[in-house]
């Protein structure tokens, strides 16, 4: 049976790991390759690097990161953050990454998804969506909840509806959706389950839940109630609150199929 995946996420800037709390207040926490290799040993199913380097050196640093990771890490890894052209995607994949994730550039030019999927295959194209709940016009409103797509690391609203964008991404060839709730991200109060459920039901490609994990029970809920195929978390792993193994043992105790290494 296909296992549900547990994925530590590493925010990387200038080749070093940082962790955003609501995307600000960054703390330096080490070498990304070493940390990823540690997570591999601990039983993580994949790792995701989100590069937030803001300089023109970015392309070289992400390719270098992928190349160094491929020497030490023997689980699939994804590189995302600021990727906007096919040449960069090619270089990252060639260096040994399994997938790339597209966010802001794909919203600006959705054909990037189509072109990347046609050239490299859907299996390596992840579309990352940063979503924020849209407040109803009045508290008594009975309209279905909706969410808006944000870009630029969650700073810029786009006016786009998250469900429509997720469906378009799938239609254009995205292999997976990495769905982050801007409302719950950094709170450690649990994933945004209504958002997750809505997106999981809207698309038939795997959805990776992100934003808000505080306990193993949150990860379990994202899978059982939110319909997620994979759960991504950062703080609970980086700060050692829980190990990947503890989380997986808990998921297994809840009847969720996971890969547990001996």
């Amino acid at each position: 049976m296909l296992a549900k995946r547990v994925i530590p996420c590493l925010d990387v800037r200038d080749g070093r790991v940082v962790k955003g709390v609501n995307f600000v207040n960054l703390k330096d926490a080490g070498d990304p390759v070493e940390l990823a290799a540690f997570y591999d040993r601990e039983g993580a199913d994949e790792v995701v690097f989100l590069d937030i380097t803001a300089s023109h050196e970015r392309r070289r640093t992400v390719v270098d990161l992928a190349a160094r990771t491929a020497e030490q890490v023997f689980i699939p890894f994804t590189v995302g953050g600021g990727i906007s052209d096919l040449d960069t995607i090619r270089d990252i994949l060639k260096a040994g990454a399994d997938k790339i994730s597209l966010n802001t550039a794909a919203v600006a030019d959705p054909s990037l998804i189509t072109r990347a999927a046609a050239r490299f295959g859907s299996q390596c194209v992840v579309v990352a969506i940063d979503a924020r709940h849209v407040m109803p016009s009045s508290p008594e409103s009975e309209a279905a909840p909706s969410w808006e797509v944000y870009v630029h690391g969650g700073r810029t609203p786009t006016g786009r509806d998250v469900l429509e964008w997720a469906k378009e991404a799938e239609r254009r060839g995205a292999g997976e959706i990495l769905l982050t709730s801007m409302d719950t991200d950094g709170t450690q109060g649990g994933y945004d389950l209504p958002l997750l459920r809505a997106v999981s039901e809207a698309v038939s490609i795997p959805v990776i839940a992100s934003g808000g994990a505080g306990s193993p029970a949150d990860l379990a809920a994202a899978i059982t109630e939110g319909g997620a195929d994979a759960v991504l978390a950062a703080s609970i792993f980086h700060y050692g609150t829980y190990t990947v193994r503890q989380v997986k043992e808990y998921l297994r105790s809840q009847g969720i199929p996971v890969r547990l290494t001996s």
Binding site: A3, D40, R41, F74, G96, S204
Partner: protein, 229 residues
Amino acid sequence: MRKRPVAIVDYGMGNLRSVVKACARAGFAAESTDSPEAVRQAPGVILPGVGAFGAAMENLERAGLRDPVREAAAEALAGGRPFLGLCLGLHLLFEESEESFGGENPRGLGVFPGRVVRFKREGLKVPQIGWNTVVFRQRHPILTGLADGSYFYFVHSYYAVPADPAAVLLATEYGATFASGVARGSLVAFQFHPEKSSTTGLALLANFGCLVYGKIRTEGTEQEGERGQ
């Protein structure tokens, strides 16, 4: 004396760097090469690959690699130089694939009788992406030290249906039960990616290295010998 490295066939289908690095971590040297001569002379051959079946066969043909690869696989079938097919490299060992785009179904190397088909069950997410378990259907030295039911990392939309059930080494459940590993003699091939399957995948690659460099034999008899490097 430095041993000749295993040849990883580079025919322009996907990135091979992860396979090279994983072999090194598993304890033996492997080099990617597009030279037919290197494929003919290497002590063992790995045929990796990600992408479309038809394009892969065209690329092999164009690079002059089709015959050396087919011969190497046939040699392994008879117990000669070990040969390892990975993912698309497993598919290519079969006779044909239904992975066509309008035209005729592309023909494969035909080392194993059978064909390659797409996952078809209604509601099944395709490609299968993620970790799934394998059930042992045969004993083979490539599985030395591995536990029946181990997890490996899969990414694929198609799978092979061997005409000869005796060729099935491993079986996996995804919508249907399919052959996730095939083996005969010293020819082995896996649908999953050992190079991305953490310690379990590295153990499998290490076993392949041992097959190549003579530490274990396809008959399953352990014998003394140097580990490749």
